[in-house]
Symmetry: C2
Subunit: 359 residues, 2 copies
């Protein structure tokens, strides 16, 4: 299949990922890591997944501190394709900056925004969903890809699918976005069959996105367009941009206004939020240890769970189920899969102690 004409991939590459400490750190966030054991970082996987759809039409938006590492991992991209945010301003600013630049650059552009740290295990289904989403987006919809839930997750927001779009079989109106539910509600969402996970994947014409933003946040849209018209104003205008997620700034109000469509899809999507979800993703032999890294040096006896082997030491685990061991040169984490969320407490503790070298 050929690439999709005028489709641009906008890749926000941000987020500290403190629940994946000590692997992921402020200085080395999770998108830079190979968390699938496939030999490529999540960022590299994301770019590889998009390349057949966009050729070389990429805009990666990352923190100034990470621009060099991102460039090093993506040595096929031209330097202009990697934008450095002066400071983190959440997803509306990052994706909105991409939109403002593309609006000027390519009047026919459609952009798809896909986070740098998500996993997609069915790239063919993903490509099909993007192709349909682009068709819908050309009719001026804000289109999202709605992930088929595989379980009653309380970790993700959902969307309620509404009426089908007459012109685009397979796409629907989004009736509503809903916040991360409690488990009872998540069970109901799953059972109903009408809810999809919101993975923050948006496909839209840049001008449509900025015009929608302008309806609810006119100054925000105006400043983004000013930066695009004169990039020398980035440093001064950027700190004035609201720190808000695209979902809240645009997607939710636009859905209330009937302007958001969804392409439901089962693409094997995973957001590796913590070591429990990483274990789930990597587990090939339940009841045994899963190893990410130098597997030859791990010895398990009657143990299951995840070992991330980030040094050349021998790691032995004896008689522990659902254990998580993350071994790095300067920090070691030992926890269990069901306490994986609480790893952020250690990061908080270390930051309070001023150990930013470790976090």
């Amino acid at each position: 299949m050929p690439a999709i004409e005028n489709l641009w991939a906008v890749i926000p590459a941000g987020g500290a990922g403190t629940r994946l400490w000590p692997l992921s750190r402020t200085s080395s966030p999770k998108f830079l890591h190979d968390l699938t054991g496939g030999g490529r970082s999540l960022l590299q996987d994301t770019v590889a997944r998009m390349a057949p759809l966009v050729d070389d039409r990429f805009l990666v938006v990352t923190g100034a501190a990470h621009r060099e590492a991102v460039m090093a991992q993506l040595d096929g991209l031209e330097p202009a394709a990697v934008l450095a945010e002066p400071s983190p301003r959440d997803s509306m600013a990052a994706i909105g900056l991409g939109a403002a630049l593309l609006e000027r650059r390519d009047p026919e552009a459609v952009m798809g925004s896909f986070a740098a740290d998500h996993v997609v295990t069915d790239p063919d289904a993903f490509a099909d969903a993007v192709r349909l989403a682009v068709e819908v987006a050309r009719d001026d919809w804000l289109v999202t890809i709605g992930i088929e839930p595989t379980h009653a997750s309380t970790a993700f927001g959902y969307m309620l699918t509404g009426e089908p779009l007459a012109d685009h079989p397979g796409a629907h109106v989004v009736a509503a976005f809903v916040e991360k539910p409690a488990i009872d509600l998540a069970d109901q969402y799953l059972a109903s069959g009408s809810y999809r996970w919101n993975a923050g994947m948006f496909v839209v014409r840049p001008g449509v996105l900025l015009d929608l933003l302008a309806r609810w946040h006119p100054e925000f849209a105006q400043r983004l367009r000013r930066i695009a018209a004169d990039p020398s104003r980035l440093e001064t205008l950027w700190p004035t941009l609201p720190q808000i997620a695209l979902d809240h700034a645009v997607a939710e109000p636009a859905s209330d206004a009937g302007r958001v469509a969804v392409v439901p899809a089962a693409i094997g999507w995973e957001d590796i939020g913590d070591f429990d979800s990483l274990s789930h993703l990597l587990e090939s032999d339940p009841g045994h240890l899963t190893v990410l890294g130098e597997g030859g040096s791990v010895r398990g006896v009657d143990s299951s769970g995840l070992v991330v082997a980030g040094t050349d030491r021998v790691i032995s685990v004896v008689g522990l189920d659902d254990i998580v061991v993350v071994d790095t040169p300067d920090a070691l984490l030992v926890t269990s899969r069901n306490r994986a969320q609480d790893v952020k407490q250690v990061v908080k503790l270390l930051r309070q102690e001023g150990r930013s070298d470790l976090t």
Copy 2:
């Protein structure tokens, strides 16, 4: 209190301690380690405990490979006080060699044998018990110190105390030695009040020990005496000595013959057999992590158990009870207190793989 005249401390310093891997190894056995956090190795503690009782009358019997390390830790001892076994031949050979040398050296000698890797938390009670044991030994008894059981242990052998000795109030005949019991039997032993743990502490005149040995193993005793008479024969005779524990070679048959006495004592004795017993020994704040080593670098969240911090890395443990983490430069162990016995399986595995560098 003055030292005890003619009392010699014979300290067998051997045993690999594979259940304390990766801290204890063939190349660095447990007696060389500070397992109490007091700043001294178990060997140094043992010598310090005996010094007030024997002055400088020590014989340390250790493997040839460890002689240098032992000498380095005991820099107050003269070189002749540290004997090197050409190969490990169990406790009868090690202690018997000490006996044969002392028999020639000091006709009035009484020897006390105390392993280099035991912990005694009440040194005053220990000294009292030794003083009484020496008095009894001067009457040609083989005397053992019988440890007051603090729980129904299945890890130690026991002895049944018999009639009191008329001449030595506080001492008894040993009615029988019994093997490590199953838990039901251990409960009965504890409840009866008549059983004591056999900690392998023997106090005896060297000639008495060798004469007793000669009753059941005449050639063994003869060879030990030949070595003492001509130390140049050590290398050739040593490999011919039976590999047997003193308990089986002498103490058990001598007790059947009515020749063994016991001084019961509560001395806070601990044999640190594995990381569970080490946790028990060190635990000061149940429900929290106990740290041995560089405590400043350990961060626990809702965790209990033991962390041995043998590197300068930050170690964080989140949401795990009774966990055991042993962090050394080339090997990491993660297990639980109730699986601590199974650490030896890892050592076996590594040896099968030829990783003697690690074990």
